[in-house]
């Protein structure tokens, strides 16, 4: 079914970014316009999701060029859920940024670039063309380069060199894979590729191309051994920027992996074993990396890596239950990771530090806020019945079914380390008495006007409520993820939606 509303969220963000450029250096106007743009895009994503949920996959062919010749946009359940999550995180972080991002950064174009980043993400989730996906990826990474370096502190610059080198390398590898795939099939439409790749006799070239895709997306989604750029860059920009990076950028790589390895390639035993082995390594190294960190933002950066392992494991197990767990974890992870970084931003505002040795006494000074943060932290570990619990059960169940005890051990180990870290953060930041305060570390949160405090706290609280909802109403989320996992296993649904029966 053809529906033009697929483009609405993308266009909304683009128009917002362009309008914002006309308000260069007018900080208040920019904040207002940005929030309006985010709300509109969120509404469009909700409409798109309900359309997709009720009518099945909807498509749009740019310029009415029939597939496989033109660029198609398709919103199946997975795409629309991802777009909705991107819009939700974008709205929350957008509201949070109106206070958390200072005047100087807002003056030099924070909001236009932020909207271009979200536009790129939503575009990547909705496109049905592999080269178009590459272009959306590039839009996202160039926007993220600017956001990462905006402000120009030395620490940010150093981090940006690593980030840019690895991401440009990933883009080149992705482009190489597209080139080879085009050479052997003569097509760029993902659905059409799904049909054509299955008929190719030269399996060697197909496998080379598949592994190049895996390396390219693997760098972007921080899979072992290519994740080192992530922990050395995500703690340097302001927390609002880190929130959107941590929540969505790596998940875009995971989404692309899911798309490529369910529609285009059907992994053989070697590839799924590779996924599982790398998932185990990612979980263990990520967890061990986080354990000796003293700054909470560095801990969270390593936890992003660690939890990417669960997602790769879900892809490696390659069954209906595992896919359901994978998508559930994806939903949970996007909400919780962006919220964690927003939370660390509030802690930084209150105490002027993110080093756990210098923090303390937060529960005594801000009991209600601490309660919200406790919900976020416990959801991250997945203490039942909070949101991280259900997908892990699915993954563990499937690991036992397939006799993959190493993977089972790694999942439990990573969860256990996460729990230790959360206990450590809770004890050090919230329960411990405040160490002798440094004169530079003053409470910048208390003197803020009520409006600004609200703008900082409301997104965090709402995201915490969403993760509570995910945990307590797991059967509703499972309805969505079960449908997605069926669509992932049976790629003919996706192919028919684009190419017609």
């Amino acid at each position: 079914m053809t529906v033009n509303i697929i483009l609405a969220p993308i266009l909304t963000h683009m128009v917002t970014a362009v309008v914002l450029l006309f308000f260069w250096k007018k900080v208040q106007a920019q904040r207002l316009i940005s929030v309006i743009g985010n709300i509109l895009a969120f509404v469009f994503c909700c409409i798109l999701f309900s359309l997709t949920w009720n009518l099945g996959p909807v498509t749009m062919h740019a310029g009415s060029w029939q597939p496989p010749y033109g660029i198609s946009f398709i919103s199946d359940t997975l795409s629309s859920v991802m777009a909705l999550l991107a819009a939700t995180a974008g709205l929350a972080v957008g509201i949070y940024s109106t206070v958390a991002i200072g005047h100087s950064r807002t003056k030099y174009g924070y909001f236009p670039i932020f909207h271009l980043l979200i536009m790129g993400l939503i575009g990547a989730f909705l496109t049905g063309d592999i080269f178009n996906l590459y272009v959306w990826f590039e839009i996202v990474i160039i926007s993220s380069f600017v956001l990462l370096t905006l402000g120009g502190k030395r620490m940010q610059m150093e981090a940006a060199v690593k980030y840019i080198a690895m991401n440009m390398l990933a883009s080149v590898i992705f482009l190489t894979a597209i080139g080879i795939l085009y050479g052997i099939t003569g097509s760029l439409n993902i659905a059409d590729l799904g049909v054509k790749v299955a008929r190719i006799e030269n399996r060697g070239l197909v496998n080379v191309s598949a592994l190049l895709f895996f390396i390219g997306f693997g760098i972007k989604s921080a899979v072992f051994p290519l994740y080192f750029w992530l922990p050395s860059s995500y703690h340097t920009p302001p927390s609002a920027i880190a929130a959107i990076f941590g929540g969505l950028l790596t998940k875009m790589g995971i989404y692309a992996l899911i798309r490529v390895f369910t529609v285009i390639f059907s992994p053989d035993g070697f590839t799924t074993n590779l996924f599982i082995a790398l998932a185990v390594a990612t979980m263990i190294t990520g967890a061990l990396g986080a354990i000796n960190k003293k700054s909470i933002r560095r801990m969270f950066s390593y936890l992003i890596v660690c939890h990417i392992g669960y997602l790769i494991a879900g892809l490696g197990l390659y069954t209906e239950i595992a896919f359901s767990g994978l998508v559930f974890y994806l939903i949970h992870d996007i909400i919780i990771k962006s919220n964690l970084f927003m939370m660390s931003g509030i802690i930084y505002k209150i105490r002027g530090s993110t080093d756990i040795r210098r923090l303390g006494g937060l529960y005594k000074d801000y009991p209600k806020l601490s309660f919200v943060m406790a919900i976020i932290l416990f959801s991250l570990v997945g203490i039942p019945p909070l949101s991280g619990f259900w997908p892990k059960i699915y993954l563990i169940e499937e690991a036992i079914d397939q006799d993959l005890y190493v993977l089972l051990a790694a999942i439990i180990f990573a969860s256990f380390i996460t729990m230790i870290l959360i206990a450590k953060i809770w004890a050090e930041v919230f329960w411990k008495d405040l160490p002798k305060p440094n004169p530079e570390e003053v409470d910048q949160f208390k003197p803020l006007p009520v409006m600004q405090k609200t703008a900082l706290i409301v997104p965090v609280v709402v995201m915490a409520i969403i993760s509570l909802y995910i945990g307590l109403n797991a059967e509703k989320i499972l309805m969505v993820t079960d449908r997605i996992s069926l669509e992932m296993l049976d790629s003919s649904l996706y192919i028919q939606a684009v190419l017609g029966p």
Binding site: E158, L169, V172, I180, G183, K293
Partner: protein
């Protein structure tokens, strides 16, 4: 011609990766440039080279007859060149700024922030 391009692509990829492994920031940049060009020529090569046969349907005919040059890879390369131009100019400015703030061309001197965990 094709063999020549194949060798060239291999050389560009190999030298690009080698340059990225060096410790100098300028060499890192050169490596990225070479890799980008290698990928572009690879796409060009994968679209089957055909000399002197543009993809234009003659007036007397309704459809394509015979061999013709595939226009899609050329459009892809054009897009990729524009994108890599933007990324590379950003990278050049960034590396210049890093050089000004650290006073060193050595990538290993960029680990100041990783020392305090």
């Amino acid at each position: 011609m094709e063999l020549l391009l194949v060798v060239l692509v291999g050389l560009l990829y190999a030298s690009g990766i080698y340059m990225m492994f060096r410790r100098s920031m300028v060499k890192l940049l050169l490596g990225l440039l070479l890799l980008g060009n290698g990928a572009n020529i690879l796409i060009f090569l994968m679209g089957d080279l055909a000399k002197g046969t543009p993809p234009i349907i003659g007036q007397a005919e309704k459809t394509f007859t015979g061999v013709y040059a595939d226009p899609v890879p050329q459009a892809l390369i054009l897009t990729a060149i524009v994108i890599s131009f933007g990324l590379q100019s950003f990278a050049i400015i960034l590396l210049k700024k890093v050089y000004v703030s650290t006073g060193s061309d050595d990538l290993d001197s960029l680990n100041v922030q990783d020392l305090d965990i």
